[in-house]
């Protein structure tokens, strides 16, 4: 049953992705990307990763979509139809890369295999066995994220902070001066 849901969600994901690649209306593309994130959140849930599913639904389907809509409000929502001449070269590169990657999957463990090296590693076993006693939180993901690897999470916060500062610097400067590109060029002349 899980397998059927899994395959169906993957099919929907593929249809959504192809539709996004073909669409010319940017508003439609952004809406489809929200749907894509929500579908992948459902897929994370099916694959027993509820924490990732929540985050993807909130951050991927929510915040990302809002950010993109905000951008569209500033830059307009029309896209020039794609140029024909790029297509064959791009398609060739993509197909070759895809085949190389698919060839690489033969060395990966079988999907859902309990004996897979990720699963039998001592690190995983230790977290599963001891984290409940050591940290006192039933959710292993939370224990690892907030306690064992707390400094990584701090680093992640630094990355988000840096991105926020960069966005403010990029957008705040032009707003303050009220200068657009053409006006600045005429200033220089």
């Amino acid at each position: 049953m899980t397998l059927v849901i899994d395959v169906f969600l993957f099919l929907f994901l593929m249809i959504t992705a192809v539709a996004m690649a073909r669409m010319n209306s940017l508003f439609g593309v952004v809406m489809m990307s929200g749907i894509y994130s929500l579908l992948s959140a459902a897929l994370f849930m099916v694959m027993d990763a509820p924490d990732v599913a929540f985050t993807e639904a909130a951050v991927g389907a929510g915040i990302s979509t809002v950010l993109m809509l905000g951008t569209l409000a500033l830059v307009g929502r029309v896209q020039k139809p794609a140029l024909r001449r790029h297509h064959f070269a791009a398609l060739g590169i993509v197909i070759v890369t895809g085949i190389a990657l698919a060839y690489g999957t033969y060395d990966l463990p079988a999907f859902g295999d309990a004996d897979n090296p990720v699963q039998t590693s001592t690190v995983t076993e230790r977290y599963v066995d001891v984290s409940g006693r050591e940290i006192g939180i039933p959710n292993i993901v939370t224990s690892v994220l907030a306690s064992y690897r707390g400094y990584d999470t701090l680093g992640e916060t630094v990355v988000v902070f840096t991105a926020a500062v960069a966005v403010l610097v990029l957008l705040g400067r032009a707003r303050r001066r009220g200068v657009t590109g053409e006006e600045r060029e005429s200033d220089l002349q």
Binding site: V7, F10, L13, M14, A17, M20, A21, L26, V29, V30, Y36, S40, L43, F44, M47, D48, A49, V52, E56, G60, L67, M68, G70, T71, L72, L74, V75, Q79, K80, L83, H86, A90, V94, G98, L101, A102, T105, L108, P109, F111, G112, D113, A114, V118, Q119, V123, T124, Y127, V128, P138, V141, V144, L145, T153, V160, A163, A164, L170, A174, G181
Partner: protein, 152 residues
């Protein structure tokens, strides 16, 4: 034949993830619109997340949340958990991914303000025209122009 079926069942998940990844890659290299490129990058990124979660998944396993102590007290109840480490990695990656996406979108807004367009080919054309004008100005009038008698 059985062997082939087994290979497909073992790997179909990875293959679909790779197809999604390649769709995202195609959007990034074949489409000129910068917002569309960022959406393609998002597709690519989500497919990497799916790959990681696929690797951590265990058939018949449960989410990595410890079951109640009553169930754990039974010695035969060996609970099989899905790998928590892949989830931790991807949680971090999702948040960082949104941060980079928002930075990319801010850059698109700035480019649109400066160039008046967000199509890659138009931006490249404008840059090249500007470079050419700059070179001509630095080089001064060509011999032909001087010979024709209008020096600027």
């Amino acid at each position: 034949m059985d062997n082939l079926l087994q290979i497909i069942i073992d790997h179909y998940n990875y293959w679909i993830v790779i197809i999604l990844m390649m769709i995202g890659f195609y959007v990034v290299i074949a489409r000129g619109n910068l917002v569309k490129k960022l959406v393609g990058l998002n597709i690519f990124q989500t497919s990497v997340f799916l790959l990681y979660i696929s690797v951590g998944n265990v058939m018949g396993g449960t989410a990595p949340i410890l079951v109640s102590e009553a169930a754990e007290a039974r010695p035969d109840a060996q609970v099989l958990y899905t790998n928590p480490l892949t989830s931790v990695l991807i949680l971090t990656a999702i948040v960082v991914g949104v941060a980079t996406t928002s930075l990319g979108l801010a850059l698109v807004v700035r480019i649109k303000e400066s160039y008046g367009t967000m199509e890659e080919d138009e931006i490249i054309d404008m840059d090249q025209a500007e470079d050419k004008a700059e070179r001509d100005r630095l080089r001064g009038p060509t011999p032909e122009e001087i010979a024709e008698g209008h020096p600027s």
